[in-house]
């Protein structure tokens, strides 16, 4: 509540100042226009930052949304219904959001460069066709856009309109701030870092990506409307590709991908610079691009990554040395209410059944009729040489890969076709060989991310920071803090995971996996990068997970001694087929194991 009150106060002050200063003669009309445009640009930058900075999706045609919003609001307030300004703005948001769906849906299938091309194409299409539709938009002649009015009072004076712009900007700022602190923002950041990791947190990547587009499009539309009512005019070239779309990209990249503050500062600077450097006519368009190239060369992974790199460099100097850190006991988290409905399985009964699964990649048969049963309450190990198909097997179980034949059953239910982000909710947790955490986020944020499925509030609650969202976030935070304390990692609470040592990252990862109260844990080479002593500690923790926490574990490992030490059952995989399966005692006597270990080609 305090936060909300603060924002309201700022909003009131900001909107009250310009009219007062203007009437007092302190603030000229010219300055007001400059400031107004600067803050409109900043608002546009914030909207682009949502899709490019937070969600990490390249969008080179954002100007199209500005144009869509501008025309929508302009037309509705000018012609026909002549709706009030706020309705026009709302319509602009809706129009922007709708068109974003049109762009976003095909964009879901595209990555990187191809996505960039698609956004360019979209912007060009808008610019050349819709915006030039003279019958509606007036083409190059454009339309006049009226200033807002409140009953009899019209915001004709520029310092009066500036009040509205500032008010809207504060709203944007607040929305963005709420976004980042909510499960939405965290989900976007996780997607930006690594999509499979995001999925393993239970995030429906497609839905969230689309959501990011829609949000960016809607807010972009609003900022476009703000421009239109400032200029009192909009035509087909107002938001043309070079001057708007590409310029916004420069602003967001220079300002720092993912930084609301940076984007704002960059936007205002770029906007005011021509005025300030008016004696250097035309130089802003030279300085700007040079600045962009300089920033890009110095910080190839974006300014956001630059901050991460600085954290890494700091860590290199002061990394907490964990010579032989033994793994702390992993927290026993109570089952959240959301998973109460999961069916129970008796110990010893099959928890996971992989039935005759085959996967083919082009010409390579990665898995060939693989069957495996994991009984509840056991630790099962899967070993085999490099290239045997172990990771493919895990991907089939966790949903990243759809088998060509065969089935995967969990607690009796067929999950072969369910998407990866759903499997977490079913009770399957997973770790990754290269640590499945959003490494540029803090330890605490990762624990919050891990509880994504238990964040029971919607997007509207998130954006408006409604009481429900605040309450749930507090609960998630408490659970996260509990887990961090149980691990003894209080001092790392706000440290980016990147800065931790590999072993510490692994501890956090396991902690996060357990927070979701999984029944089955899939561990992908958990001892990778560990010294033999640390691996022994890991083995103890794995036994804890089985005995004290009552979980079931399936692990892929190269560390045969660990496997022999800790597993109840072992399967040997090579060339996509199970070669042997049995208890540890059986397998330990089996030359197959030693053969697999020493890299002997073991053949079916």
């Amino acid at each position: 509540m305090k936060r909300g009150a603060r924002y309201v106060a700022v909003l009131l002050v900001c909107s009250a100042l310009p009219p007062i200063l203007g009437r007092a003669g302190v603030l000229s009309s010219l300055r007001s226009v400059e400031l107004s445009i600067a803050f409109c640009t900043a608002a546009a930058a914030i909207s682009l930052n949502i899709i490019m900075g937070y969600a990490g999706q390249i969008s080179l045609g954002h100007g199209a949304f500005l144009g869509i919003g501008a025309f929508t609001s302009g037309l509705l307030t000018l012609k026909g219904p002549q709706v009030p300004f706020m309705v026009g703005v709302l319509a602009a948001a809706i129009a922007g959001g709708l068109f974003a769906i049109v762009l976003g849906l095909p964009a879901l299938r595209l990555r990187g460069l191809y996505l960039a091309i698609a956004t360019v194409g979209f912007a060009f299409m808008m610019q050349e066709s819709l915006f030039k539709w003279s019958r509606i938009t007036g083409g190059s002649a454009g339309i006049e856009v009226p200033r807002p009015r409140a009953n009899a009072f019209v915001f004709t004076r520029d310092y009066d309109y500036l009040a509205i712009v500032l008010a809207m900007f504060v709203l944007f700022w607040a929305l963005d701030s709420n976004l980042v602190r909510s499960k939405l923002g965290r989900a976007f950041l996780a997607i930006r870092w690594d999509e499979p990791v995001a999925q393993s947190f239970g995030i429906d990547v497609s839905r969230y990506k689309l959501g990011a587009f829609v949000l960016a499009g809607a807010l972009g539309g609003v900022s476009g409307a703000m421009f239109a009512h400032q200029y009192q005019f909009v035509n087909s070239s107002t938001f043309d590709f070079n001057n708007t779309s590409l310029l916004l990209v420069i602003i967001v990249v220079v300002g720092g991908l993912g930084s609301r503050v940076g984007a704002t500062i960059a936007a205002i600077s770029f906007s005011l610079m021509p005025g300030l450097l008016s004696w250097l006519k035309g130089w802003d368009l030279i300085v700007g691009p040079v600045l962009l190239m300089y920033v890009v060369v110095r910080h190839p992974r974006g300014l956001g990554a630059a901050m991460r790199e600085r954290a890494e460099a700091r860590a290199r100097g002061s990394k907490v040395v964990t010579a032989e850190q033994s793994m702390p006991k992993l927290p026993a988290m109570p089952r959240p209410a959301a998973v109460a409905g999961r069916p129970e399985v008796l110990p010893g009964a099959p928890l996971l059944e992989v039935l005759d699964v085959s996967v083919r990649f082009g010409g390579l048969q990665a898995l060939d009729g693989v069957s495996l049963t994991v009984p509840k309450g056991s630790i099962v190990g899967l070993i085999g040489p490099n290239g045997a198909g172990k990771t493919t097997f895990f991907n089939a179980v966790s949903g990243m890969v759809r088998p060509d034949a065969g089935a995967v059953r969990f607690v009796g239910a067929d999950i072969t076709k369910s998407p990866p982000h759903e499997r977490v909710g079913l009770g399957i947790g997973r770790t990754f060989q290269l640590i499945g955490l959003a490494k540029d986020l803090s330890v605490r944020d990762n624990f919050l991310l891990a509880q994504h499925l238990f964040a029971g509030y919607g997007s509207a609650s998130a954006l408006l920071a409604l009481p429900r969202a605040t309450r749930v976030e507090r609960e998630l935070g408490e659970r996260a803090d509990q887990a961090i304390e149980a691990l003894g990692f209080e001092r790392f609470r706000d440290t980016p995971v990147l800065s931790l040592s590999h072993g510490q990252q692994r501890i956090v990862e396991l902690g996060c996996a357990l927070v979701t109260a999984p029944d089955l844990l899939l561990l992908d080479e958990p001892s990778a990068g560990m010294s033999p002593a640390a691996a022994e500690s890991l083995a103890e923790r794995l036994r804890d997970i089985r005995d004290e926490l009552g979980r079931t574990v399936l692990l892929i490992e190269h560390n045969i001694p660990l496997v022999l030490d800790v597993c109840d059952e072992i399967s040997v995989l090579n060339f996509g087929r199970i070669l042997a399966h049995g208890t540890t005692a059986d397998i330990a006597r089996d030359p197959t194991v030693l053969g697999a270990y020493f890299g002997e080609a073991v053949v079916a």
């Binding site: 390249i58 080179l60 095909p106 299938r109 595209l110 990187g112 460069l113 191809y114 960039a116 091309i117 698609a118 360019v120 194409g121 979209f122 060009f124 299409m125 610019q127 050349e128 066709s129 030039k132 539709w133 003279s134 083409g139 590709f241 070079n242 590409l246 310029l247 990209v249 420069i250 990249v253 006519k281 035309g282 130089w283 802003d284 368009l285 030279i286 700007g288 691009p289 040079v290 962009l292 190239m293 890009v296 060369v297 190839p300 992974r301 974006g302």
Partner: protein, 291 residues
């Protein structure tokens, strides 16, 4: 219909020239060069200054433009592409956006925004093909596309260095392990791209008439990009095929639909082609499925 096709093919030659530059840079650096069109635009201003202001023959202005743009490519490679050799490719693509805007900025600064005209090398109506007068520069563009395309392809496949360029586009690390200096490969790619941009702009200009900062090269770039995508971002012959393809599609669409009722219908058609290619066959007609 014949007339439409001929126009389309003639235009396609120009799109193909741009596509050639785009594909070359993509093959060499795995980067989409957004400035491919506008580098040539800057070259146009230089040529214009030499020919129209300095009253020198066209060929001199043209040569100066080609050399200058080549050097511009080299400069960009040295200052931006090379330091970013291990950076994500998208980052370098964003840098080319910076280059694009820089070109426009310089042009604005130099010309104060007013449009100029640069007459072409050959005057006259040209031969009559299928009932339509095809201007000599259009024919020149097609011829240039063919010659340059074939020349490049031969160079790449037959010489050691050329093979190195091809190899680098498939596996940069392995190429280094063969002892091939990636720096030189990279430099070659961008110098050639700059020169191709200049040639394309010089041959396009007589059709367009007046040119201004950002105009027409950006719109043409988008068509060149579509052509490169259609033919396959990794295929030089694809640039040729794609260029002609886009040219014909655009021409046919423009013929069927009246532009006053459907403004920009040609752009929309081209963009629809782009989206279809991206969704259905991202590697284009002649590209390999492993981009």
């Amino acid at each position: 219909m014949g007339e439409t096709i001929v126009i389309g093919l003639a235009n396609g030659g120009i799109y193909g020239l741009l596509a050639l530059g785009i594909v070359l840079v993509y093959k060499g650096s795995r980067v989409l060069n957004f400035a491919q069109g506008e580098i040539g635009g800057l070259g146009l201003y230089l040529a214009w200054a030499i020919v129209e202001k300095g009253h020198q023959p066209w060929i001199l202005g043209a040569l100066a433009a080609v050399v200058a743009c080549g050097m511009l490519g080299a400069l960009f490679e040295r200052l931006v592409v090379r330091p970013l050799i291990d950076a994500p490719r998208l980052t370098v693509t964003v840098a080319t956006i910076g280059l694009l805007l820089l070109m426009i900025g310089i042009e604005l600064h130099v010309s104060h925004g007013s449009p100029e005209i640069l007459r072409g090398p050959i005057e006259g109506l040209g031969p009559k093909i299928a009932g339509f007068y095809v201007s000599p520069t259009r024919i020149l563009a097609l011829a240039a596309l063919l010659v340059i395309g074939l020349g490049l392809a031969t160079f790449l496949r037959r010489t050691d260095f050329g093979l190195g360029v091809l190899a680098a586009s498939q596996d940069a690390t392995a190429t280094r392990l063969m002892g091939i200096p990636l720096k030189r490969v990279s430099m070659f790619t961008w110098v050639a791209a700059g020169m191709l941009g200049a040639i394309a702009a010089l041959l396009i200009e007589p059709q367009i008439g007046a040119f201004a900062p950002g105009n027409p090269m950006t719109a043409l770039f988008v068509r060149g990009l579509a052509a490169a995508l259609l033919g396959g971002l990794t295929s030089l012959p694809g640039a040729f095929v794609g260029g002609l393809g886009i040219g014909v599609i655009e021409s046919v669409v423009g013929d069927r639909f009246v532009t006053s009722t459907f403004p920009g219908i040609q752009t929309v058609a081209v963009m629809i082609v782009v989206v279809l290619v991206l969704l259905l066959r991202p590697q284009g007609i002649l590209g390999r499925s492993r981009a």
